[in-house]
């Protein structure tokens, strides 16, 4: 059962998918599982919907992990968050309120083909696994493939680069499927959260330009609450701010696309560490990393329920 599942180790795609089926089977009151499409290599793109069932349409929060294949802490976090949400529903009044009033759409592995490839062949693979007709290099950066200032500054048009934006926006079936789902539910989805690594930062739009977003005060306040909550766990200080100035300028990113499509709170987390282990974050750090991030995500979700 899910209670014997070890959340403090990294899991293969097959194990994660089996865990999703098991969680769905054993928690019918809080969990629903569905597929939003198929990857380039034909794998299903599974999403878990977490929250108390309701007759009326609830506000929703989207969380995706594993956009970049080598960032293994991402899928570990998504699984951890689901475990925490379900496990603390009875005891934690904050979590109970969140699950009663919101639906969380959680996609533990966005880039399923790339993640599988990083387990079997190349631990440091980042992109999707789609083929290019003219070059031998494979894959597109799934965080440069969105239809927002596509393939401008901070993205590459060369298929062999790690930041390749793809032949056209939403060329990747994984990106297209998520974009379609978010477009369909955009009236209900109030927050979009994408989990990445590594840098210890919380980023919000814009990524592609230095301008300030219209609802800056609300988003900045939510980000401040999130990093304060994160700090309260183990005293780790996250930098936060617009992605363009806090990290670097990048175009075609998912947070800019989600924001442009009407989702008012969009964030990208860059989880631990700051480079000592980089993408090889030891499994002993899964628990503290995911624990503190869960607090931050709860703070953002609580902010969604407040008026700003």
């Amino acid at each position: 059962s899910e209670f014997q599942y070890d959340y403090e180790v990294y899991h293969s795609l097959e194990e994660i998918q089996s865990w999703m089926f098991e969680i769905n089977r054993t928690q019918p009151n809080l969990v629903d599982m569905f597929s939003i499409g198929k990857s380039y290599e034909g794998r299903p793109l599974y999403v878990l919907q977490i929250g108390k069932r309701s007759r009326h349409q609830k506000k929703a929060v989207w969380i995706d992990c594993g956009v970049h294949a080598r960032e293994w802490i991402g899928p570990a976090f998504c699984q951890w968050f689901v475990k925490e949400a379900i496990g603390s529903y009875q005891q934690d009044s904050v979590m109970r309120r969140l699950l009663n009033q919101l639906s969380f759409y959680i996609m533990p592995v966005f880039n399923v083909d790339g993640y599988h490839f990083s387990w079997t062949t190349d631990r440091f693979w980042r992109k999707t696994r789609s083929k290019n007709h003219r070059f031998h290099c494979r894959g597109v950066d799934a965080n440069r493939n969105w239809k927002v200032k596509w393939c401008a500054q901070g993205a590459s048009s060369h298929p062999c680069d790690d930041t390749y934006c793809g032949p056209f926006p939403e060329s990747e079936p994984e990106v297209k499927a998520v974009a379609k789902f978010l477009r369909k539910h955009k009236k209900r989805i109030k927050a979009y959260i994408s989990i990445h690594a590594y840098a210890q930062m919380l980023l919000y739009p814009y990524s592609y330009k230095y301008a300030t977003i219209p609802n800056f005060d609300c988003v900045e306040s939510a980000a401040r609450s999130a990093v304060t909550a994160l700090y309260s766990a183990y005293g780790l200080k996250y930098r936060y701010g617009p992605a363009s100035t806090t990290l670097y300028v990048s175009s075609g990113s998912s947070i800019d696309w989600a924001y442009k499509n009407g989702i008012p709170y969009t964030f990208a987390f860059e989880l631990r560490d700051t480079g000592y282990f980089g993408f090889l974050l030891p499994e002993s750090l899964i628990s503290p990393t995911c624990g503190e991030t869960t607090r931050a995500v709860k703070a953002i979700a609580s902010g969604v329920l407040k008026k700003c």
């Binding site: 062949t121 790690d162 930041t163 590594y198 990290l247 993408f279």
Partner: protein
Amino acid sequence: FLYNNRYAGDQVFRIHPKNIDEVQTLKNILGHMQVDFWQPNSASLICQNTTVDVHVKRNDTLAVHARLQQEHIDYGVFISDLQEEIEKQTGYRSSRKRR
């Protein structure tokens, strides 16, 4: 060996370009090699006074050391043998599973 031992001897460098000239030199050095950018994600995103983490293949490590020293660019080696780090992580996982 995991991944057919493909990362044996590979290193991760942390480099600190301090001015525009060093940024340009670094872009030239790394741009001509098949390095894997960890942070930032590509050579074009290298800026002054930020750290650059790159994964360098074993055949290129000596050349990168030499060029960075020659250009007096501040750097260090964060991971001296990438394969060892990967094996360590997985070895730990196996022992946990056995337990």
